[in-house]
């Protein structure tokens, strides 16, 4: 259970929130002009990286507001919380603050509990 800082209410337990998947996927303005493939990309495809992820959360058992979160999916470390209308932070803003318990690669899996 991680702590999430709702930009409207403050820091609360994860159980008060619901995850809304990848952020900054904008609904196309003119869907009818899109090819089937492009529309399919919008409807069905989302990124699922190991590492830094821009994602949406909603304070569903609270103020019910949607907001965006930058989370390191390999450690659950939350790097930034910002409102829907705020500018998407740059990836380079976080590179220095990133910590990974085992120095494991951003992509891939494995168990690295032992320090070499």
């Amino acid at each position: 259970m991680i702590l999430i800082k709702c930009p409207y209410c403050g820091e609360r337990d994860q159980s008060e929130f619901a995850n809304g998947g990848e952020a900054h996927v904008v609904r196309p303005k003119n869907p009818e002009n899109l090819s089937d493939k492009d529309w399919g990309e919008y409807v069905f495809f989302r990124n699922n990286p190991k590492g830094i992820f821009y994602e949406r959360w909603v304070h569903s058992h609270g103020c019910k507001k949607w907001f965006n979160v930058v989370r390191n999916t390999s450690t659950d470390q939350i790097l930034k919380v910002y409102k829907v209308n705020e500018k998407r932070p740059d990836l380079t803003d976080f590179e220095n603050t990133l910590k990974s318990p085992s120095g494991e690669p951003i992509v891939g899996s494995g168990n690295f509990a032992v320090k070499k």
Binding site: M1, R27, D76, V84, P101, N111, A113
Partner: protein, 993 residues
């Protein structure tokens, strides 16, 4: 034979009695089940998981792999660790996993059959033939696996408690108490958590420490405990086990509120503590590990420090003349204690070279004339249900000794479980031959033996130094020892076998009956990654999680693979640290508190009128009303359906979701959310509407009332309301924040009644004499507001039955009164109440769909032939673009059709398949072509035969054709004709009458 240590001051002298497998034994208050059994010379306490081998008490704590018992007093709690659970007067205990009795266990034949139970046996053995799994293997495994039996008729009252603190100290042993002392009267809010019912840890469990600051260990504990208790900033929890260490320093701990007492069933027996902290200090010590040798599982084999703990802490000497087998320096304190009590160990076997063994040990052995084997090991032990003989190997010679107990010490592992749960990194330490914490990931500090520091003299400096990052006081610890200051150990994980027999086994995991041979076999078969190996052999997957053996298995595997142990790595440590009862996790969220029940304002009337209820979401809805005691559901639904189409019926529709949509851009918003076009719709009219997902699939439906372009009321399905509101809110906030629209859930602001049937108009005119219900004044799909007594009501002309119908909305406060008024007016017209089942039947006769019945998340409005609902001229709405995707415009998609049985007596069952064959083959060899399924099937009392709605591939073009519907348990299918799905009043004459 066991003996009593009368010097022990920790155990009460109050004698109590308890029963084990029906026999009565005595104990002292404060005894655990295990110490009490040892006190009574009971060695055999259970049978093992796979081979049903006799097992005894192996340890004296949470790490116990064998001594699991069932407590049949209280609530039949299974898999209880005898080494933890305290006895109380009158406690009834049984052993587990044996039949017919512990001494003569039928399942022990598995031991002889052991070749088929080797590594991966689950995957290899139970593979076929077809049907064997369901009828033979599964019942067999279920009966013989799984140790205890689940509790019955027990309602837990466990609770949850939340904490927010600055510091949590896990474990109140020597290091934990010393650390806590540093926080006395500081600004930090501290929580000190101890798993046991007393503080002191190793100080009370062993003879290792002689004095601290000139005080006896007990004096020092009492002094320190008092200081801690008097410090306002420190809270203590005893009998509380930290099971989980999550991200953001979130801990979960389980408190046993009735340790040593019989549970009061009226009180909360467990408390689950959920803790948020800024800093975590782990001081939960170390766990001794065993050594694998032939029959290292026989009752009588016990870890040396556990043996010492029974003497020191419980005043029981499990055996006066045990053999001691060690590879390290720690057994000195046990040796000293035994000798001081006048007990003489049969032999002392040390795998270290004579020169490396401490002089003090050698002196005691010599002075007391104890057989001494250095550079030696235990080859194995033998006996019937207990150790009888022990074979020692020294070089090439073997010595066979008679003894009933063997104390084993294979070294100590820092208890890194919680530290690795917190994502801290561990490192192999060659000096202690174990993993120890290295780099914490969170604000985690480990102290004492948890951090791999086995040197008591260095403990004080370690604590002061590591806690210097916080503003704490200095502590001093001047410790005098009964053990060598420097810990010395020689690597030894398994010993060589001399003899081989089918019965003889060398175990690596006692809980799950995994042998060294299984590890070798798994590696031979290619499972050389530790995580794969673990799952294939089930090594360390028991409820003890291999606490005394998992490091041993890593070491043995690394030797087999010729790799460094740090290369092999550990398996992942996962919460909980020890089994956590489901009751504790559930807390108060059980039974009526699990999910609240929602009832309408008419509920009391439904109860009085013999309604049978159905759960719809959280709502209790009348399913049907029983006209008489003996009326079946089928009879009731047939009666209700017939009466409604003949006269009139009324349904409590208060559960339907209602959402108010208001604001400058409400019209634009509604046009985007729903398939329908609302722009040309006149105010005070309503429309049946559909909401799609972006993939074009139907999500929900309902009636939309338009009051004005700035004000709509949408109804939703009863269970879909929260989701529809959440979806609307999501689009407003994230995609269209420029739209000025406000949403409000008004489901509970209104009681809603749906009254329909040919006599409805007469009834309505009688209830509301001032309202003109004529077709001209009040046409279909319009609504109006009226004053009614001291309140306001809204009446809408709409119908879900296909008959003339009205929906009445009234504040719930006045709901019941109006409902009763309608009934008194409707009596002369035979007005009946009806439930959801009749509603479903009537709408099926009319060919109306139900979300979740005809639709399943893969159905578009086009599939239902509801093209008229799609606002084609609208530029955009949710899901519009997807309706022209190649997949959604396929001709052979499943489409809605009606089904009529060709033989009018046949019954079409819901959920059946539609096929081309009139009869299924007796034995199905090739897949049978599947055309679709029956989504709704009813006997229509108004047509007097069965009808069905079905989703069939390319159904739109199949009207008039003949297919077959399968029947449960039969091979002969029913012939049906595909028809238009409207069975009653296709011209809508009744609807608009």
């Amino acid at each position: 034979m066991s003996a009593i240590n009368n010097e022990c001051s920790y155990i009460s002298k109050n004698k109590i009695s308890f029963s084990f497998d029906g026999k009565t034994f005595y104990a002292y208050e404060g005894d655990t089940i295990a110490s009490a059994l040892l006190r009574n010379n009971i060695r055999l306490v259970g049978r093992s998981f796979k081979y049903h081998r006799p097992r005894g008490i192996y340890t004296c704590g949470i790490e116990e792999p064998n001594a699991l018992v069932q407590i049949i007093s209280e609530h039949n709690e299974p898999n209880t660790r005898a080494t933890i659970k305290r006895v109380y007067d009158g406690m009834e205990i049984t052993s587990q996993n044996r039949w017919p009795s512990l001494r003569y266990d039928f399942g022990a034949i598995n031991n002889i059959l052991s070749p088929i139970f080797s590594a991966g046996f689950y995957y290899k053995t139970f593979m076929g033939p077809k049907g064997f799994w369901k009828n033979l293997y599964e019942p067999l495994i279920r009966r013989s696996a799984g140790l205890g039996k689940p509790p019955k008729n027990f309602r837990s009252k466990s609770t949850h408690q939340y904490h927010n603190t600055d510091v949590v100290i896990i474990g109140a042993g020597l290091s934990g108490l010393a650390a806590a002392k540093k926080f006395i009267n500081t600004k930090y809010k501290v929580l000190l958590i101890e798993q046991d019912s007393y503080f002191g840890g190793i100080l009370k469990n062993s003879n290792k420490v002689k004095t601290i600051n000139g005080l006896t260990p007990q004096e020092w504990i009492s002094e320190t405990e008092e200081l801690i208790l008097n410090s306002k900033n420190i809270t203590t929890l005893k009998n509380t086990l930290v099971t989980t260490y999550n991200f953001t320093n979130h801990l979960i701990a389980l408190e046993d509120k009735f340790a040593g007492k019989k549970i009061d069933l009226n009180k909360s027996e467990l408390t689950l503590h959920k803790i948020r902290t800024s800093n975590t200090i782990i001081t939960n010590g170390h766990i001794e590990r065993f050594i694998s040798f032939r029959n290292n599982d026989l009752p009588g084999v016990m870890l040396a420090s556990s043996f010492e703990k029974y003497i020191h802490r419980y005043g029981v000497v499990p055996e006066k003349e045990p053999v001691i087998f060690t590879n390290n320096s720690s057994s000195l304190s046990l040796l000293k204690k035994l000798v001081s009590l006048g007990c003489k160990p049969k032999a002392y076997v040390d795998s270290r070279k004579k020169d490396n063994i401490e002089t003090e040990i050698k002196k005691i052995l010599k002075d007391n004339d104890i057989s001494f084997f250095s550079d030696a090991e235990i080859e194995g032990c033998d006996g019937n249900k207990k150790i009888e003989t022990i074979t020692i190997r020294q070089g090439k010679s073997f010595t066979k000794l008679k003894s009933s107990m063997l104390c084993v010490s294979g070294g100590y592992n820092p208890d890194i479980h919680l530290f690795t749960q917190s994502k801290g990194l561990v490192k192999w330490d060659k000096n202690i031959l174990s993993f120890k914490p290295d780099t914490p990931f969170q604000k985690t500090i480990t102290l004492g033996s948890t951090s791999g520091n086995y040197n008591f003299k260095k403990l004080c400096d370690e604590i002061n130094e590591k806690l210097s990052i916080l503003k704490t006081k200095k502590v001093s610890l001047d410790i005098n020892l009964n053990v060598p200051n420097k810990f010395s150990i020689k690597e030894l994980w398994e010993t060589k076998k001399k003899s081989n027999s089918n019965w003889s086994k060398s175990f690596i995991d006692l809980h799950n009956d995994v042998t060294i041979k299984d590890l070798k076999q798994a590696i031979t078969e290619g499972f050389d990654r530790i995580e794969h190996l673990k799952r294939y052999t089930t090594n360390s997957m028991g409820t003890d999680q291999g606490k005394i053996s998992s490091i041993n298995s890593l070491a043995i595997v690394s030797k087999m693979l010729k790799k460094e142990i740090s290369e092999v790595g550990t398996t992942t440590y996962r919460p909980p640290y020890a089994p956590l009862s489901f009751a504790a996790i559930a807390g108060r969220s059980t039974y009526e508190f699990y999910d609240p029940e929602r009832k309408t304002s008419i509920h009391s009337w439904h109860l009085k009128n013999n309604a049978v209820f159905e759960d719809v979401g959280q709502w209790k809805r009348p399913w049907y009303f029983k006209a008489s005691e003996n009326e079946t559901m089928h009879q009731a639904v047939q009666r209700e359906s017939k009466m409604l189409r003949e006269s009139a019926g009324i349904l409590d529709g208060s559960t339907l979701g209602k959402i108010e949509i208001k604001g400058r851009d409400a019209l634009e918003f509604m046009n985007l959310m729903y398939t329908n076009a609302f722009s040309k719709m006149r105010p005070m009219t309503s429309r049946y509407a559909m909401m799609l997902g972006e993939d074009g699939m139907i999500k929900d439906d309902g009636i939309i009332c338009k009051i004005s372009d700035q004000h709509f009321i949408a109804t939703t399905t009863s269970s879909g309301a929260p989701k529809v509101l959440a979806d609307m809110e999501e689009y407003l906030q994230t995609e269209w924040p420029h739209l000025q629209v406000y949403l409000n859930s008004i489901t509970e602001q209104f009681s809603t009644f749906n009254i329909s049937g040919p006599k409805t108009r007469e009834i309505m005119m009688k209830v509301f004499p001032n309202i003109d219900f004529s077709n001209d004044a009040f046409p279909f799909m319009t609504f109006k507001n009226f004053d009614y007594k001291e309140t306001k009501i809204r009446i809408m002309r709409a119908s879900f039955t296909g008959e003339l119908g009205y929906e009445i909305y009234i504040p719930p406060k006045f709901g019941l009164e109006l409902w009763e008024e309608i009934f008194s007016c409707g009596k002369e017209y035979n007005l009946i109440p009806y439930g959801t089942e009749t509603m479903h039947l009537l709408r099926a006769e009319k060919g109306y769909i139900v979300i979740g019945q005809e639709t399943d998340g893969t159905v578009t409005p086009i599939d239902l032939n509801y093209n008229w609902m799609i606002g084609k001229n609208k530029k955009d709405f949710i899901g519009k673009r997807s309706l022209s995707r190649p997949d959604t415009s396929r001709e052979d998609r499943k489409q809605l059709v009606g089904l009529l049985p060709i033989n009018k007596k046949d019954i079409i069952e819901e959920g059946q398949h539609i096929v081309e064959l009139n009869e299924l083959p007796k034995k199905i060899t090739n897949p049978i072509k599947y055309l679709g399924h029956v989504s709704s099937g009813y006997h229509s009392p108004n047509l007097n035969h069965s009808i069905g709605l079905a989703m069939i591939r390319g159904g739109k073009n199949l009207f008039g054709q003949k297919f077959f519907v399968t029947v449960t348990g039969k091979t002969k299918n029913i012939p049906v004709e595909i028809v238009n799905p409207v069975f009653i009043d296709p011209e809508n004459k009744r609807l608009t009458s």
